[in-house]
C-alpha cells in the first residue's frame, strides 16, 4: 500500500483522472473529497463487508407467524 502524508487542501492524483483531496480535519475525522469520472466506483471501504454481514444476518431470519400483520392494515396488500 502506498502511504502518503497530506495536509488540509493537499491532494493525490490517481491515473491522471481521479483526484483525492483532504478537505478538512476535525479531531480524528478526515473529510475527503473525490473528483473522478462517472465510471469510477467509489464506496466506503467497509460497504462490501457490511452487506455481506447483513445478508448473513438476514439468512437467519426465522419464518414469522404472520408478517403482514405487523404492517398497518392499509399497507398489507400491494398497491
Amino acid at each position: 500500500m502506498l502511504i502518503l502524508t497530506r495536509k488540509t487542501n493537499e491532494s493525490i492524483i490517481i491515473d491522471d483522472v481521479t483526484e483525492i483531496m483532504v478537505v478538512d480535519i476535525k479531531g480524528d475525522q478526515v473529510k475527503i473529497g473525490i473528483k473522478a469520472p462517472k465510471s469510477v466506483r467509489i464506496f466506503r471501504g467497509e460497504i462490501y463487508e457490511e452487506i455481506q454481514k447483513e445478508n448473513i444476518e438476514a439468512a437467519k431470519t426465522q419464518v414469522p407467524k404472520d408478517l403482514d400483520s405487523l404492517l398497518p392494515p392499509s399497507r398489507r396488500k400491494k398497491k
Binding site: 467509489i42 462490501y48 457490511e50 438476514a58 431470519t61 414469522p64 403482514d68 405487523l70
Partner: protein, 161 residues
C-alpha cells in the same frame, strides 16, 4: 434435478421445490432466476425463486433452489418507501444485461431480529435487481449514501405517502 438455464425452457409443467417457509411447493420452472455472481456472502448460490403463499403479499421469500434452508425475506422497496432510485453503475449491471435499469424488478432483503419484529430492517443500499425477461439477477450496491443497509421498515412506512 432442474435442467437447463431458465431462458432455454419453454415447458408449461411445474416442478417441486423445497422451501424454508412453506415446505414443498410447485413452481413454474421458468420463474427460476439465475444469479451469475450469487449474492454477497453467498456467491456460490446461483438459482433462486421468489415464492409466497399469498398473491399480493408485501413480503415474499427469495428461496435458494439448491439449499432449502437458505431463503431471504424480501420486499419491493416501493411498498415500504415512497420513492426508490438505486444509483448503480452501468458496468455492474452488465451481469444482468440491464445497464439502463429499465424494466427490471427490484427486491430488497429484509432482516428481522429474533423476537423483535418491529425492529425489522430493509437493505436499501444492496438491492437485488432482476431482469425478468432473461431471468437474470444480482445484488448491487447503490452509491447513494442515503440508502441504508439497515433502514427501519416501520419508520419508512410511517413516512410513506
Amino acid at each position: 434435478m432442474i435442467a437447463a438455464m431458465p431462458q432455454e425452457q419453454e415447458t408449461k409443467e411445474t416442478i417441486t421445490i423445497e422451501t424454508k417457509a412453506y415446505g414443498s411447493m410447485q413452481i413454474d420452472p421458468s420463474s427460476i432466476i439465475y444469479f451469475p455472481d450469487g449474492i454477497f456472502a453467498f456467491e456460490q448460490q446461483r438459482k433462486f425463486a421468489i415464492v409466497s403463499d399469498k398473491e399480493d403479499a408485501v413480503f415474499q421469500w427469495l428461496q435458494s433452489i439448491d439449499d432449502t434452508q437458505l431463503a431471504f425475506l424480501v420486499a419491493n422497496p416501493l411498498d415500504i418507501t415512497s420513492s426508490y432510485q438505486p444509483a448503480i453503475h452501468a458496468e455492474d449491471l452488465i451481469t444482468i444485461d440491464k445497464p439502463q435499469l429499465d424494466d427490471v424488478k427490484i427486491w430488497c432483503i429484509v432482516t428481522i431480529p429474533p423476537n423483535e419484529p418491529k425492529s425489522m430492517t430493509i437493505n436499501l443500499q444492496g438491492p437485488l435487481i432482476v431482469n425478468s425477461s432473461k431471468n437474470l439477477g444480482g445484488q448491487f450496491i447503490s452509491s447513494n449514501e442515503k440508502h441504508n443497509v439497515r433502514a427501519s421498515v416501520v419508520d419508512l412506512m410511517e413516512q410513506k405517502d
